[in-house]
């Protein structure tokens, strides 16, 4: 896979179809892979990597990259392609300046899950069939891949690309996903339990803005939380209210636009399951207004800029059971 990608990238660079390649660059320890822009075949030969740790979604980089001179090649995993398509729908990416190669993906590993298994001091990770062989300061360990795949991959919603110019590997299908199970579990709790759960999670927030800055839906030129004129700008959550405020409003602003790529939770240094907020909105939208997948259909109106005459009333919230 990786070799096919490298070869194709070099080919497209060589024939002048593109002048840059957005991909992933090898790191220090085989898990710390950095998104990067490659300009030469040498760079690609030396640094380009595609493996089970290339979780980073490259689509957001295209907002600025597609405005630069020349055409850029980008490799998009199925879930990344939804983000890309959504950005396209919002006119944030100049499509003509991007060449998309869709790549297959069967899940990406989460280094935190490896560490949670007590495997620390990780120096290198090698693939061996359906397992990872991990070399660490404290010895070698083998773990089944499935055990350390990221949560978002275990509940993958689609192996099919929303948009691409060509494919490397096989195109999959939209797959059934159990991604709303945890949301449903929370919904079934009492309000007090839910409050405790979310207070525990959100109180850890350090307002580093990693979730926001990595989020392909949070593509604002200037976020309301950074804009002193918005009246709600803040740099730190000085009070528990501000933790709630930031995350509620952020989730609301991406509601109907969030493709559930899961980057927010991946990057959170405090391990806050932020995707559960976005998924709640997605679940509600599906239940209230019919199934909707952001990024899937370029012509479909987003749920929050749409309505029907017989939409449910807000009082539906009082009627829903399982939480008294």
């Amino acid at each position: 896979m990786q070799e096919a990608m490298k070869a194709r990238a070099k080919e497209l660079l060589a024939d002048g179809s593109v002048n840059r390649v957005a991909g992933w660059k090898i790191g220090e320890f085989s898990y710390d892979i950095t998104p990067a822009i490659f300009e030469t075949a040498e760079e690609i030969d030396r640094d380009f990597v595609y493996d089970d740790f290339c979780g980073a979604n490259l689509s957001k980089y295209l907002i600025s990259q597609s405005r630069k001179e020349g055409k850029i090649l980008v490799f998009l995993k199925p879930c990344d392609s939804y983000s890309f398509a959504q950005l396209l729908k919002e006119h944030r990416i100049i499509r003509e300046n991007v060449y998309i190669i869709g790549i297959e993906c069967y899940g990406k590993a989460d280094i935190n899950k490896i560490r949670e298994k007590g495997i620390d001091g990780v120096l290198g990770i090698k693939e061996s069939g359906s397992s990872f062989v991990i070399d660490s300061i404290y010895g070698e360990a083998t773990v089944p891949k499935m055990d350390v795949y990221a949560e978002r991959c275990l509940v993958c919603k689609s192996k099919k690309h929303a948009v691409y110019d060509e494919l490397i590997g096989e195109e999959g299908d939209v797959v059934p996903s159990s991604r709303f199970d945890k949301v449903a579990e929370l919904e079934a709790m009492t309000p007090d339990e839910r409050f405790e759960f979310w207070r525990g999670e959100l109180s850890r927030c350090i307002r580093c803005n990693a979730c926001r800055n990595v989020c392909p839906a949070c593509s604002c030129e200037n976020c309301v939380f950074d804009n002193p004129n918005s009246g709600i700008a803040n740099k730190a959550a000085a009070d528990s209210f501000e933790e709630n405020m930031f995350h509620i409003i952020r989730a609301f602003h991406v509601a109907g636009r969030c493709t559930d790529c899961g980057e927010c939770s991946r990057v959170c240094p405090q391990n806050i399951p932020l995707h559960l907020l976005n998924r709640k909105f997605i679940k509600d939208i599906n239940e209230f207004y019919g199934e909707y997948q952001a990024g899937e259909n370029p012509d479909e109106k987003a749920p929050l800029t749409n309505f029907t005459f017989d939409d449910c009333e807000p009082s539906i919230v009082y009627k829903r059971g399982g939480n008294q």
């Binding site: 949301v183 405020m245 807000p314």
Partner: protein
């Protein structure tokens, strides 16, 4: 659910009313001398679709115990479609607040036409009662805004 046992508790209620129907409905309930508690303070907005969720959170932050949005009945919006958007936004927002464990009875949407002065007063009476029972808003408060 916690139930308030402080009998003297006076909730602060912010009511956002659209200019064309509900604000007029509120005026009508005044014209007809229909009483509702003084806890309710009305903010006039052009349309229910002008209500940004941020305003609701802001109200709770500043010490509101309940926030209610009143707009034209669906189909009667002065701007033809505003309340349909408001309806979706509020359904999702309220559901999210509930999901975070914030008492859902603190937020409400009611459609009140310019002719429904009685409904306006009745709605406010009910809402104030419901919020009074819940007691002071602790889950979405900002301690810096509370009176010491």
């Amino acid at each position: 659910m916690q139930v308030n046992d402080n009998k003297d508790f006076q909730p602060t209620i912010v009511a956002f009313c659209c200019n064309w129907c509900s604000y007029a409905g509120a005026d009508l309930s005044g014209t007809n001398r229909l009483q509702y508690p003084a806890n309710v303070k009305i903010i006039r907005i052009p349309c229910s679709c002008r209500l940004n969720p941020i305003f609701i959170l802001r109200a709770f932050q500043r010490g509101a115990d309940g926030v209610i949005l009143c707009g034209c009945h669906p189909g009667d919006c002065h701007y033809t479609t505003g309340n349909y958007y408001a309806r979706r936004r509020m359904s999702l927002l309220f559901s999210m607040l509930d999901y975070l464990g914030i008492e859902k009875e603190r937020t409400r949407v009611e459609w009140v036409s310019a002719a429904e002065g009685a409904k306006f007063a009745a709605t406010m009476n009910e809402f104030v009662d419901a919020v009074t029972k819940l007691g002071r808003n602790h889950r979405l408060e900002d301690l810096r805004c509370k009176k010491q």
